[in-house]
Subunit: 96 residues, 2 copies
DNA sequence: ACAATAGGCAAGCGTACGCTTGCGTGTCAA
DNA sequence: TTGACACGCAAGCGTACGCTTGCCTATTGT
């Protein structure tokens, strides 16, 4: 659970999730290309690969190796626990 | 929006939100006491104060000064945009 | 076979972050 | 008035994080 919060703390990783939602099952190179094209992120392939490792450790991304490609899929389930954690408390009283 | 992700990335700040949900409108000292009692967090008052600044910058906490006390209230609204950001994409195909 | 492609591993670097420490400010009570 | 209490400000420190660089492995195509 801690890993999920850490994973979505970085803007580049959030952009990766955005791109996987837009097109699921991308390879590492596809993700790199989309990050530079659509988000202006010029990070190296290794940097993106490390981000994907963090996302995968958080359960937000699943991957599968096929030949020389490694495809990545988004998994939204860990995010749902975030909002469920903090229910609405008694509201703040107005100053009077 | 970026501030929200950064704010909930830290476990101490998440514990602060937990305590504010449990009892809304606490002062800084109350929060410090609860963190040590219920979470084993021994951070200084200044550390907790800085955490509250981050939470307030993210819109997750509102505060009001009354006399020599500063009371804090939780605001869950910024959290709702998180789950709404990443809708469920086409699912990952099973290997066959 | 051999070159090109897709990706992995590990070390190093700079910065940001969480935290402490020391001191200052304002409020309340005796 | 004076001391105690609740909190703020700012500088410094150590660590973790994001990123690069260099080199290596494996798969594909010609």
């Amino acid at each position: 659970m801690d890993d999920v919060f850490r994973a979505i703390a970085d803007p580049t990783r959030r952009a990766i999730l955005d791109e996987l939602v837009d097109r699921n099952g991308q390879s590492l190179f596809e993700i790199c290309a989309r990050l530079t094209m659509k988000h202006g992120i010029t990070s190296t392939r290794q940097a993106v690969s490390q981000h994907l490792d963090v996302l995968e450790a958080a359960g937000l991304v699943e991957s599968r190796r096929e030949g020389r490609f490694k495809f990545h899929w988004f998994n939204a389930q860990p995010l749902k626990a975030i909002v469920a954690r903090w229910p609405e408390p008694r509201p703040k009283p107005d100053q009077s």
